[in-house]
Symmetry: C2
């Protein structure tokens, strides 16, 4: 690939990039540098809260569009339920209140009046939604109920990290009711599949799907399933969960229906959610020392045109850049960066840091050759393309980048997934290299807890493949019951 | 128009419609009947709160799509700011806190800990956003800042009515910063125009745009503008507001920038919002005794196919209905209601009540004639159309309905807009027929207050046309300063 002349000197660009702490030096600081310097977020005056700035929120809007589209395609409708929940409702399901009460925010005063009963700011909406469902559902004709809501929730977290764990976050939560146990289980797994499909195809994040152990399941659920992704520091992140609630909530909230056989029955329920955490996953799976890398399908700007303006050819290049932007606007989401107060080199680095998949450089020499230089963010590779070919080449290149980013992430995960039956090997891996550790487990809480105390690693999920890796439990050496994925997790 | 034979008897349908209280009998009850029986909403366990059910929420999603699209087209980006605001921030702007403190919900406990400083659940976000802006804005290069957010807000209201005034509601709030006073005023008026355009073109709701009187302006604003619509009971409703905040907030939050002339200056700000109230306006402007009437652009279902199934021709009609649905799916938002457990008559009434713009009836006799019967919700007029012409005819009919509904609403408003300079005529109109009353006003708070005490009518807005209607104030008879619109309002 030819190095174009007439480009800016590199000194300025290096200055810019230096501001991001390298991953190898301090991964946590790298993460904070990326999200603050790209203006994805800012810290709120109240500890644990944050503002999502337009550049970060644009990713959330893509999630709403692409995951939300899949949620609608699978027959769900959106609705909105109240933010504030009477204490009494939260307390109905015993496990549920035990799980959430320690971390809720309480509204105790409205205007100048002290409330007779304090209200909970929703940490999740099962309780309030079940209260409505108990009135809305009467007959088998009313089933299934397939409702989703996009909203904010509050959980009073002690230790927070932007996007990954914040006291307020945005999410979608689906809440469904079904006639039969089988239908509910089918729905639970279908929605897990929706998360997996979205994460892998659009976010370019490979995930392991499976069931949660009892210790890790949702407070009040019969069974919890999750999709788990591996971050580039070797820690796992739960990117979406889907719960089969059984009839636990139906029984305490009295959600019944008259079935076709004239019997009054309790409904079978599911709930499932994914949140702004996914933005954290996107950053940590794909980011590098130069900043963010956005998979093309998630990028609100897929390519940026940077005109290289010499004094002589200024008008000509600007004009050609505008014509190019006009030509390409139907092919992809494009930005023309024609700001005069910044140099091309400065812009290269800003857009690299912001992870825009393709940079289109257009200078006087390029114009002479009727070409532009495309620079891929994922590989750094440059390619001279004739201006006439761009409308054809760019969409293909975006697809190549999307596939390549998924492959890179998958390769990383595979290289960082180990297996074994020797506990000291396991503890060593978890202490040093991290990653996933696939092992056999007897099924007992004590063994899971011992592994956590020794290594901070937890069982991330029990994958659907039933074949046992080893015959004995990694921890106690007794008869194994399941194959599990261990990892230290966010 | 020919009455088709082979239709269901009308008895069942009348039963159904009887459930809605006629407007003339009790307008408030009619409103409640419409929103509950169409399953737009349901009351929450906490007084003043509600759930927006899928059928109601679909209208909000259309508002987000169509108003949200206009907000983006005018250069604004979406973001998200924290739900909880430290008391101290709310108190910074004196008028602002005075306006909002009496109606906020207070979070005083997080988990098991009592908070050192209580937090306010946002009633509006000026205070928290200004806190961020004071850090984000440094230079003229950072301006303008054009940010919008879609979110929930809480105001502890004493007297509530679904959609119109609820303790929690959904809205969008735009918050912008500018270099100059002129730019801020231009932005304020531009966004008022965006509301007007959206309401008139998409919601088919004619509005009067103008400035608010001092008594009615936003707490903390320099000037407030609003668009006011007339409901079919003759009361006005404020459907959107746009505030020029001047430098009131910039000064107390210290939002400054270094200008091109190297002087440190305060920014000029605006904020503007529209909420789920607009759904209330949609219902009350267009609804009738049979239920809702949705303007086609706001309808998530624009036409519904109801097959008329006789025993003999059941399969044939069902098959033709499915083929028709397939044929039409690219032309409009369509639903095929092929439920077997309900009769066609029952379905006609359900979809009429839900305000779907066009019903497409397809029975055995229609099939013989290769036609379907289109029934308009706005006029009730029936039209036989050849199946081959439907893809052409339906989009045209939807546009006719959209225009007709706007015209009907405009005619109603014009017939219910009176003018005069005689105070007893004014009080009589406000007591009986209501509607808008255009009059001249001296500009004094006392006169506005007297009119309110005597008639419950307030100054809805001061329209932009400057010509004086009458030379003397309607109330005190002294020299008039402005032409104003009076009305009793929601």
């Amino acid at each position: 690939m030819e190095q174009q002349s007439g480009r800016e000197p590199q000194a300025e660009s290096k200055e810019f990039v230096k501001e991001i702490t390298p991953q190898a030096v301090d991964y946590s600081q790298w993460y904070i540098d990326v999200i603050t310097k790209t203006e994805m977020m800012d810290y709120a005056p109240v500890k644990g809260f944050m503002a999502i700035r337009p550049f970060g929120f644009a990713i959330w809007e893509k999630i709403q569009e692409l995951l939300g589209g899949r949620i609608k395609e699978t027959g769900h409708e959106n609705a909105y339920f109240p933010l504030l929940i009477p204490q009494e409702l939260l307390q109905k399901e015993a496990e549920h209140v035990q799980g959430f009460a320690p971390e809720v925010a309480w509204v105790t005063k409205g205007g100048s009046e002290v409330l007779a009963e304090p209200l909970v700011v929703r940490p999740t909406s099962e309780a309030i939604i079940c209260d409505f469902y108990s009135r809305w559902i009467q007959s088998w004709r009313d089933l299934p109920v397939l409702i989703n809501q996009w909203c904010n929730v509050v959980r009073w977290e002690k230790s927070t990290r932007p996007f990954l764990r914040t006291s307020e976050f945005l999410w979608q939560e689906g809440h469904t009711c079904h006639r039969t146990e089988e239908e509910a289980e089918e729905e639970t797994l279908k929605m897990l599949g929706v998360y997996q499909d979205f994460l892998e195809k659009d976010m370019a994040i490979p995930v392991v799907a499976g069931r949660k152990s009892n210790r890790e399941k949702f407070a009040g659920a019969l069974r919890t399933y999750a999709v788990e992704a591996l971050m580039s520091d070797g820690r796992a992140l739960q990117a979406g969960t889907s719960h089969n609630l059984g009839q636990h909530f139906a029984k305490v909230f009295n959600i019944t229906f008259m079935d076709q056989d004239d019997q009054l029955k309790y409904v079978w329920q599911t709930s499932w959610g994914a949140s702004t955490r996914m933005i954290g996953a996107l950053i940590m799976v794909h980011g590098d020392d130069r900043g963010l890398r956005l998979p093309p399908r998630m990028a609100s700007i897929q390519a940026v045109i940077v005109p290289i303006l010499s004094k002589k050819a200024r008008e000509k290049v600007l004009e050609a850049s505008r014509a190019l932007a006009e030509l390409l606007k139907g092919c992809l989401r494009l930005k023309l960066d024609d700001r005069e107060e910044y140099s091309p080199g400065w812009k290269y680095n800003e857009w690299e840091m912001k992870g825009i998949p393709v940079r289109i450089e257009l200078g006087p020499r390029d114009l002479e050759k009727n070409q532009a230089i495309l620079v891929r963010r994922d590989t750094g590779v440059k390619e001279a393309v004739s201006l006439d070919d761009l409308p054809h080449r760019l969409p293909l290149m975006l697809e190549e980048i999307q596939q390549n980013m998924y492959r890179q992430a998958l390769n990383f995960r595979e290289a960082n997934t180990r297996t074994g039956s020797d506990y000291s090997h396991f503890t060593e891996i978890m202490d040093n290299e991290k990653g996933f550790y696939v092992a056999s487990w007897c099924g007992k809480d004590e063994c899971e807890l011992k592994a956590k105390n020794d290594t901070k690693a937890t069982i991330r999920c029990i994958p659907f493949q039933t074949e046992l890796k080893y015959k004995t439990c990694l921890i106690c050496g007794e008869k194994a019951a399941e194959t599990v994925y261990f990892a230290r997790a966010y």
